[in-house]
Structure formats: structure tokens, C-alpha cells
């Protein structure tokens, strides 16, 4: 379980996140949504232990600030937003970097996990390609395979591991958006946890157990997608008068931009 209590983050003197409290449970996909600049990514970075922050952040009961980088690295892995790489690494070499910490850094496990991780993101056969020559969406999936291999076992020594994904499907086509979201779901079902910063509300409603809606560095709404996604929230948080509908069979909420009222 990852918890934040009264989390406040200031970057170069400007407060970006104001007193955020949230809980991300193992076995659940927690999605953070909100308009641009609402502090989603900053919140996630603070949860990852990457930014100095005020307030308490814990992972499985340990204070994140008190853990060494290599201790954190076996409990959570982080998918950053698009990253350029200056050197000609092959896909296999990138994915393998995730396997330099943790219990799987033995030669025979490395090759097996690398192949499985690439298969999981639908990139089997890409191991020998150069990262720099791939498309943006393929690069994003390579990075996800690396992140996945870092905490390949969703539960390690009785403690759940957490995937922290910053806009994991932003560069992907619709088929691979579903592939990746299903992958995240499977990780939760195997006992791990996922925190994802998302922009696509419909995809979020389909896959998230818990939805945190942020505005101006504060949590505006939090709960199950069906509770959080309301006409009222769309206007209050996104400044957009839109109508929320629900899928007849499942009752999951969805929103179409066509319903935006001028």
C-alpha cells in the first residue's frame, strides 16, 4: 500500500501540490486524472521519492524518504514520460537495465524475463532493434517492458510491488492502449498495485478501481470511477460542461466530447 498524508510539494519556490492525501492499495489500479498543470505528475514523483516534499509518504508502511534508492527500486518501478536516449542501445539492452536490481539479476532469469516482458508489451522480435530507430509508441512500450522487468514479481517477500506509470498510453494506438491497460490490470490481479497518471477518462473508467481527480494541486474528487465521473465534476474540475453517460451492460461511465455544451 502506498499512502500520502498531507503531501505538499514546492518546486523552485512555487507550491505545486497542496496537502494531498491519498491511498493506493495493492490489487487496485489507482488513476490520477485532472487538467494540464493540476499537479498529477508532481504528485506521482513525490510518491516515487524523487522530489523533496512535506508530509508523509509511505510504501508498505516504510517511510519513502528513509529508504535508500536500491531499497525503493525493488518495491516500485516508475515509467517516466517520453525520454530521449543519446546512445545506440538495443531494445534488449534497455529492458535488461531494469534487471540490475532485485532478485532476478541472474543470467538465466534475465534472458527469460526480458523476452516475457517484451512479449507482454507486444514487442516480441524487437529485442535486436535499436531503441533510437523505433517510433514514439514503440519506445514507450520498450520503457514499460523495462519498468515491468524491474519489479517482475508483483509480490516480493510478502510485500506488494507498485508500478507507477506516467501517462502510459499517451503515444499508443487504440489496440496497444488496451494491451497496456490489461497488462496493468493483470499486475493488480496478481497482487501488485498500479498508480497511473491518465488523460483518457473513458479508458480510466474501464480499468481503474480508484480514481483521484486533481485540480490546481489539490484533490477535487476521489472514489470509484462511477462516483467521481459526474457532469458536475466535469464542469468543476475540467471547466467543461459535458454529459456523462454509462455503458448499458456494465454501468461504467463514459464521456463523449460531442456532448460538450458551448
Amino acid at each position: 500500500m502506498i499512502t500520502a498524508k498531507n503531501l505538499t510539494v514546492a518546486l523552485s519556490g512555487k507550491t505545486i501540490v497542496h496537502g494531498v492525501s491519498l491511498t493506493a492499495k495493492a490489487g487496485e489500479l489507482t488513476a490520477i486524472v485532472g487538467p494540464n498543470g493540476s499537479g498529477k505528475t508532481t504528485t506521482m514523483k513525490a510518491l516515487a521519492g524523487e522530489l523533496p516534499s512535506k508530509g508523509d509518504v509511505t510504501i508498505n508502511g516504510h517511510a519513502v524518504g528513509a529508504l535508500e534508492p536500491w531499497q525503493l527500486a525493488v518495491k516500485r518501478a516508475v515509467l517516466p514520460q517520453a525520454a530521449a536516449i543519446a546512445f545506440p542501445f538495443t531494445v534488449r539492452e534497455i529492458v535488461r537495465m531494469g534487471l540490475t536490481v532485485g532478485p532476478n539479476r541472474h543470467a538465466e532469469r534475465i534472458d527469460a524475463i526480458t523476452s516475457e516482458a517484451l512479449a507482454a508489451v507486444d514487442l516480441s522480435g524487437f529485442a535486436g532493434r535499436f531503441y533510437q530507430e523505433l517510433s514514439g509508441g514503440e519506445q514507450q512500450r520498450v520503457q514499460l517492458a523495462r519498468v515491468l522487468s524491474q519489479i517482475w514479481d508483483p509480490v516480493l517477500d510478502g510485500e506488494p510491488c507498485f508500478l507507477m506509470l506516467d501517462e502510459p498510453v499517451s503515444a499508443l494506438d487504440i489496440r496497444h492502449q488496451l494491451t497496456i491497460m490489461r497488462l496493468a490490470r493483470r499486475y493488480c490481479e496478481s497482487g501488485g498495485g498500479v498508480i497511473a497518471v491518465m488523460h483518457d477518462l473513458n479508458l480510466t473508467a474501464m480499468f481503474a478501481d480508484h480514481m483521484v481527480m486533481m485540480k490546481s494541486g489539490r484533490i477535487a474528487r476521489a472514489g470509484a470511477p462511477a462516483e467521481v465521473m459526474t457532469d458536475d465534476a466535469m464542469e468543476a474540475v475540467f471547466g467543461c460542461r459535458m454529459r456523462i453517460n454509462s455503458v448499458p451492460a456494465s454501468g461504467l461511465p463514459f464521456v463523449l466530447p460531442h456532448t460538450a455544451l458551448a
Partner: protein
């Protein structure tokens, strides 16, 4: 047949060595990296031996070494040969190799640290800072307390160059880094400014230097391996060796930093500590090299770049391979420098610049074509 084809597993065009490498999984260059390392170790030993065995004099290294081990009586001739081989060629070959290794590996470390294949101790002003330290010592060393100078002895120049390099690197790092993020553009531009500043101060020192100091500075700044002695080897060698031994422990961290400093932290790397160790090691290695040989440029760019094409950017192999290849190239350039205009010799810095500068331009042009601008 390009190496890229081999890496991708294009067996139709592979030659036998590449086929052997392909038997491992696609995209895995471990086998070829190990093979390259083994070849480089052999070539290093050969070039050290060749460098000691050849020169303007016909002194026979085999006879001398034979005599050393057999304890044979020293005739007049063997004494002359012995001085040439043991006191002139050996320290020159060993120190030349170490300097090449130091410069090449420092280049690889800087490039990894700043995530830019064009970062080089020479380009970002570290060499200029070291040079300033060294010139300061040449010109003003005489006015330091005699006791201090006596204690420092041969270490005075390397120490001054090391401090100059370290201060430059720290200043550079300070300027280019904000909130834990290092801006490569700022670093390169700050490097130009720092190099200009160090050059100006060096100029002032040259202005006030007397004739003998001026001669010392001029020959030193051209970059040369001539005049290497065991004393210089013992002064600069340990610093370089220490850096060469420490840096390979940074490999995993440098690999991770390729993905960004945040990503490296996520993967469990203590980024700040890694940066400190890397910066001090680079300043030490470059400072010690500059102190004994002057500015020898472009080794730090050319060597890691060529190796990345063959074995890939994995620092676990790139760092030791750069050190070995840098040493070999330096000895090769030195043999050229000694023979082209024999019995005189060219400053080696001229040769590395003649070969390295066009190479640097080629890399720039190739990247320009690749990036489409």
C-alpha cells in the same frame, strides 16, 4: 555487412565472426564486447612491447632486457642501450599508455554523465582548467615557499593541474545543474566561457613569464610525450591508475543515467554520489595527464565513439575497452610522432588534433543528417 546488420541478426550477410556472435540472442552484444576486450588486451601488450623496442636509436630492447635479467656485466655499449631502453623508452611507453587510457576513459565517463556523445574533458574546459593550474605552477611556483616546493617535488605540477581540473569541473557542474538536473547545452556553453577565461589568465601568466618559463610553457602546451621520466611516471601514474580502477564501478549507474537522472534514481542508483565520484575521477585523471603531457585533444571523443559502434554503449564494457584502446592509440600516435620527422619529433598533440578534429566534424555532420537538420 555492417555491424548493425549483425546485431539485428541478419545472418545472410554476416561473416564468420559475426555469426559466432549471433548465436547469442538478438540485440545482445555481450559476446562481441568480451571478444573486443580480449583483443584489446593483446594489442595493448603488443603495442607496449613495440613502443619499447623501437625508436630513433638502434638500441636493442631484447638485449637490454636479457642483460637485466641475466645480470650480465655492463659494457659501455649496453650501458648506453640500457639508458635508452630503461630510462627513456619504458617510462615514455608506460606513461603514454596511461595518459591515453585516462583521456579516453574520462571522455566516456563525461559522455555518459552528461548524456551527450560530444562531451569531452577538452571541449567542456576541464583541460583548460588543468592547463591553467599547471601554468600557474610553472610561472609562480618559484615564488612559493621553497620548503613546500621541495616537499611536493615532482608532484607539484600534477597536483596543480588536478586542482585546476577539479575546480573547473565543479564550477561547470554548479553552473549547468539546477534542482538536480544538468543541462547539457548550458554545460557546453559554460565550458566555452570557462575555457576562454582560463585561456585569458594563462595568457596573462605567459606575459609575465620569463624566457625559460615561456619555453617550458610553449613545449608543454603543444602536448608531447617526450621527456617522460620515471619520476613523472611515479608522480602522475598513481592518480591515473586510481581513477582507472575506480571508474569501472560506476558502469551500472552510468548505464542507468543514459535514461535520465530521474530514471536512474528509480532504478536504484544513488545519482548524486555517482556524479561526485565521476567528476573527481575525471578531474584527477585529466589533471594528471595534462600535467605531464600538456593538452592532447580528441582522444576522449574518438575512442569511445568508435567503440560504441562495435560493442555498443554498455559502460561495463565501454569503460575498460576505452581505456585500453585509448592507450593503444596514444602509443600509435607517439610512434608516428617519433618517426615522421626522425630524428626530431612532432608534438603528439598535433597528430591527435590532425586526426581527431576531422573525425569530430564527421560525427557532427553524420548526426546532422540523421536528425534531419
Amino acid at each position: 555487412m555492417s555491424l548493425n546488420d549483425a546485431v539485428r541478426g541478419d545472418s545472410a550477410r554476416g561473416f564468420s565472426l559475426m555469426r559466432a556472435v549471433q548465436s547469442s540472442a538478438a540485440g545482445d552484444r555481450t559476446a562481441i564486447a568480451r571478444l573486443t576486450l580480449a583483443v584489446l588486451v593483446l594489442v595493448s601488450i603488443l603495442s607496449l612491447a613495440l613502443s619499447i623496442a623501437t625508436g630513433a636509436s638502434d638500441a636493442s630492447a631484447i638485449n637490454v632486457i636479457g642483460a637485466l635479467f641475466s645480470g650480465a656485466e655492463e659494457t659501455a655499449l649496453s650501458l648506453r642501450d640500457r639508458i635508452i631502453v630503461v630510462d627513456i623508452r619504458m617510462p615514455r611507453a608506460l606513461l603514454g599508455f596511461l595518459i591515453g587510457a585516462a583521456l579516453a576513459m574520462s571522455g566516456a565517463v563525461m559522455q555518459g554523465l552528461f548524456r551527450n556523445p560530444l562531451a569531452d574533458p577538452g571541449l567542456v574546459g576541464i583541460s583548460s582548467g588543468s592547463a591553467l593550474g599547471a601554468v600557474l605552477m610553472i610561472v609562480l611556483g618559484a615564488s612559493l615557499p621553497a620548503g613546500l616546493m621541495l616537499t611536493l617535488g615532482a608532484f607539484a605540477l600534477p597536483l596543480a593541474a588536478f586542482i585546476g581540473g577539479l575546480l573547473t569541473t565543479l564550477l561547470l557542474y554548479r553552473i549547468a545543474t539546477r534542482g538536480g538536473q544538468t543541462s547539457v547545452a548550458t554545460m557546453l556553453l559554460a565550458g566555452i566561457a570557462i575555457a576562454a577565461l582560463a585561456g585569458a589568465v594563462t595568457g596573462i601568466l605567459i606575459y609575465i613569464a620569463d624566457d625559460k618559463q615561456l619555453r617550458d610553457i610553449t613545449f608543454w602546451s603543444l602536448g608531447s610525450l617526450s621527456g617522460m621520466t620515471w619520476a613523472k611516471l611515479f608522480a602522475a601514474g598513481p592518480i591515473i591508475l586510481l581513477a582507472l580502477l575506480v571508474v569501472p564501478f560506476l558502469s551500472r549507474g552510468l548505464n542507468a543515467i543514459t535514461l535520465g537522472e530521474a530514471a536512474a534514481f528509480h532504478m536504484g542508483v544513488k545519482v548524486q554520489r555517482l556524479k561526485y565520484i565521476a567528476v573527481v575521477a575525471v578531474a584527477g585523471a585529466v589533471g594528471a595527464s595534462v600535467a605531464v603531457s600538456g593538452g592532447i585533444g580528441f582522444v576522449g571523443i574518438v575512442v569511445p565513439h568508435l567503440l560504441r559502434i562495435v560493442i555498443g554503449p554498455d559502460h561495463r564494457y565501454l569503460l575498460p575497452a576505452s581505456a585500453l584502446f585509448g592507450g593503444v592509440l596514444m602509443l600509435g600516435a607517439d610512434m608516428l610522432a617519433r618517426t615522421i620527422v626522425a630524428p626530431a619529433e612532432l608534438p603528439i598533440g598535433i597528430i591527435t588534433a590532425l586526426a581527431g578534429a576531422p573525425f569530430f566534424l564527421w560525427v557532427l555532420l553524420r548526426d546532422r543528417a540523421r536528425n534531419g537538420w
